[in-house]
Symmetry: C2
Subunit: 447 residues, 2 copies
């Protein structure tokens, strides 16, 4: 099954608004094994919207479009679809009443301008929503369908989850599931990870290629059996065209948050698929060990928080080059007060001396350890972690930017780590933050 995405809005064309909707919808389609070959962005203009929708519908089984369903005169998606369907727009009293009810509950004035939102192309089915006022639309065009949602991300997501994906799954041929799991790693570059698990990928590739691999027509063109990173087979798999029951592995480097490894599978049997994913995850975890810090959407700070609570430990932080970034990520966790005592941003050398008793060079392993010990003492926490280093752009005490030390102090011991990080000032500070949290995670887990 093929679905295209059309994002509507002049702001998108002007680069004034980043189109995050298309990426979200694309991911939903991929996760459900639905191919998406083209995505288009078009402005708030009836004839051009119609042209974009017609072209997309011509090439695909369905189109999901988002944007242009609001009440103002530049919201013309409804007209464009009606036009394409050759249907007239009909005022639907029941929709109008539900919009009126919602607006009056919200204490907002009901302008007659909102009436346009109760207009529906004849033959289309409205998708009512909980959050906003503009209903979405399901429009049958022959054997095909156009789904229209508002451009507001929360409203679009609500409709995708409540209605559109279910409708698409129903329309999709075959009765298979697509399941995926993402393993998140820190500390190894993508090339090293690829090297370490190339054996697994080769095994899976042989399994998949040994049979009549159902790759999507076009995907085959650029295909080459040995080319597995980020080879066509993973892509084919993610777009739902891979061989049933053989997991696929793909990488995604996300700069300062580490490398993600995605295991995906398509199967007729949910139990079988889950078991295969578990098996593959286990194999990769055996190879990469504690470099994997979480799976799916769990962040580094969430893992750290969970481990601290589990071990019933309190934390304090002292930061130089990261300047509050480590503390800010800890505080982003609701309920951080359970384990987080506080932090010190010891930026000026005199502050390091006054609060932590630090003498001598401030960018060294020894300094990092002393800072952590000082914080542990001053904040009376079980564990303290410290960062010091040179973020750049200039050298400091003749030390190269990217040279970073992390210290950790517990009741049992104090340890310092030296890191060599790359990138500009911002990237070095972000990477130092992740590295410090990762060191903390490993320490707590080893207790």
């Amino acid at each position: 099954m093929r679905v295209e995405i059309v994002a509507i809005g002049t702001e998108l064309l002007l680069g004034l608004l980043v189109d995050t909707n298309s990426g979200y919808i694309a991911q939903q389609l991929a996760d459900n094994g639905i191919d998406c070959h083209f995505q288009t962005r078009v402005g708030d203009n009836i004839s051009r919207i119609k042209e974009a929708l017609a072209t997309a519908l011509d090439r695909s089984d369905a189109v999901i479009c988002c944007g242009g369903l609001g009440p103002t005169s530049d919201d013309v998606t409804r007209e464009a679809i009606a036009n394409l369907m050759g249907a007239e727009l009909v005022f639907q009293q029941d929709i109008w009443e539900s919009i009126e009810a919602r607006l009056s509950v919200a204490g907002r004035s009901i302008a007659s301008i909102n009436k346009s939102q109760a207009m529906v192309p004849k033959g289309a089915v409205p998708i009512l929503q909980l959050t906003g006022t503009a209903p979405g639309l399901i429009c049958r065009v022959g054997e095909k369908a156009i789904y229209a949602t508002p451009g507001v991300p929360a409203e679009m997501k609500e409709m995708m989850e409540s209605t559109i994906m279910a409708d698409l799954r129903r329309r999709r041929e075959g009765d298979y599931v697509i399941i995926s799991r993402t393993l998140r790693t820190w500390g190894l570059p993508e090339s090293r990870i690829a090297e370490l698990i190339s054996g697994r990928i080769d095994t899976l590739d042989k399994l998949a290629l040994g049979d009549d691999l159902q790759i999507a027509s076009g995907q085959a063109e650029a295909m080459e059996p040995g080319n597995t990173l980020p080879g066509e087979r993973e892509r084919a798999a993610k777009s739902g065209s891979a061989r049933l029951d053989v997991p696929t592995i793909a990488f995604l480097a996300s700069s300062t948050e580490g490398v993600k490894i995605r295991i995906g599978i398509k199967s007729n049997d949910r139990g079988k698929a889950l078991a295969a994913i578990e098996r593959e995850e286990k194999a990769i975890r055996e190879i990469l060990g504690e470099s994997i810090f979480s799976s799916d959407d769990e962040t580094m700070e969430e893992v750290v928080a969970k481990e601290l609570v589990k071990h019933n430990l309190t934390l304090s932080v002292v930061e130089s080059l990261t300047g509050g970034l480590v503390a800010a990520r800890i505080v982003s966790i609701p309920g951080a007060s359970q384990f987080f005592k506080g932090g010190l941003v010891a930026y000026a050398t005199e502050i390091k001396k006054k609060f932590l008793g630090l003498e001598g060079p401030v960018v060294s392993e020894e300094a990092a350890v002393k800072m952590a010990e000082g914080a542990r003492r001053e904040f009376k926490s079980d564990i303290a972690i410290s960062t010091t280093g040179v973020a750049g752009p200039d050298k400091q005490e003749d030390i190269e930017p990217g040279t970073v030390y992390v210290g950790i102090a517990t009741a049992q011991k104090s340890v310092g780590y030296k890191l060599s990080l790359r990138g500009n000032r911002d990237r070095i500070r972000q990477s130092a933050t992740m590295a410090a949290l990762d060191i903390l995670r490993k320490h707590v887990m080893s207790l």
Copy 2:
């Protein structure tokens, strides 16, 4: 002149990679008064790339495509373009030599796979680059042109700046300039700003509409004279179709960074255009006063840093709900050590007491003031700023999430401010951070 954008890469279609390139290119086009009516994303597939390029070229004067110029077998943009031009790919020895030279300087091994990057469609002009290896391409197709750049944002930007925009400006009819200035505000909602400067907008609209407004054909369909926010005229203007010499005003709300106001103008005369922009900026500044904290790309923390250095003042920070975010933004400024002493993340109540001598409720105006005074004393800084409040999701001491206090202490006085912020935990913390920096900015500027 019309230009379309085609972003190439299967990762984009799968939602694994966010397409930031199209937004950047779109902004460049808009800033140069070039219309962009459609943007397309397509995967690494020769026939579909060819189809997308052909469709785009058919509707426009030129196409900028990015992605798929790398050395691996799934990079097929070159082939697709050659195919579309009806030209063969020719190996260019001089390009190969420059790629070899670059790779050997970087100490990277030269794989024969890189040779594909020296292939150029016959008749196309390569755009050599400084950063990476893949050259871009300028391909004439009849009277029209396809520009191809790599998908790596830094490499794409380099080519846009060095070559493509200059070539487009040369091809563009007429010899006008587009100049814009963005004013950044904090503290007023978009609706209030719109209300305050609606008079200016009306005046400009009358000036523009009184004459033969050269709006782009399609833009006119949805146009309505009174509809000026974010009316069609601003859009027409940004896409280069507005009346010469009449400035336009547009708004852009960017959630936790405040509302931006963009003044744009198109003119035959750079001096005249600059003068008109200055005049408009002055008028808006008179209306909005100190709500405008900077212009163009200058961030709030950059303004704060500049003001502190100018007044030769040192700063310290004490944070509860923002948990290091204020300090982290200050430390993001290179040279922050010149004025920044340090910060305390006083998250646990006992820490507020121990370091700052704070007794009683910790979420109050009085607490915020005492925290700032304590920080000023402990860090021996000229100014200290504090944040305390409830980030949510739960109430604290029976206080609603979003209730935030900011305190500021200087040698002359201490003041507290109460804020009511909306949103989730993250948004409340981000807004509190901006608000604290803004209060600091206004205090320093008033000294």
